[in-house]
Amino acid sequence: MAAIAGFFRDVTYRGREGQIAWMLHRVTGAGVFLFLALHIINIFMMVFPAGVFNSVLVFYHAFLFKLLIIFGLYLGLLYHALNGIRILIVDFVPGAARYQAPMWRVQVVIFLALYVPSAAILLSRML
């Protein structure tokens, strides 16, 4: 228990909207970065014959991988993009920094409004 409490004390800075937004931005960014590395290597394999490339692509057609795309990559990419737009507003619109926390709440609503229906469409079309 002490270890868990210590961990939360160590990772908590302000612990409110700003820190949650920032942490999620890092985690989603790192996740998309990892996928991108694998994706570039995978597309580079177009230099090999069709049979070789397609045998690796079987991976993409796996059920678990499709779930990871929808609930991992797409979720992460959409959050990172929306939070990035909020950062742009905070950085370039004079006075906007004061409203970063309410803007994050609005951002969560926009995220859900975009993600839930589009993820449902992806689920119905991909599985």
Binding site: G29, A37, I40, F44, A50, F53, Y60, L77, A81, F92
Partner: protein, 125 residues
Amino acid sequence: MQVRPFARPRPSGSFELYAWLFTRISAVVLAGMAIFHLLYMHLGMGVEALSWQLIAWRWQNPVWRIFDLFLLVFGWLHGANGMRIVIEDYIRPKGWRIAAKVLLFLLTFVLIVLGAYVIFTFKAP
């Protein structure tokens, strides 16, 4: 204004300033392009249809090659610059920090060369 004693100072000096600006400029481009790319490939094309043959057909149009090249270069450099900052933040011992950054730089070089090579030279037989 609130005092933020631990906040990262505003970037100054040329490299950090340009890296900061590049992150923001590429973000605008990527927010649209990357999400469009994901949805287009999974809904427009369909994940079941994804194959060597489909990509070969897609690359017959040079516009898609330029689109992919843009995603490769802007996407990877945006991500690599972000990882550079994550390394600066979390890897404290100097030797390990430099080693991680050298590795990131090499990975950046290799992946952009490999990706650009296949985009520029691919010929469907």
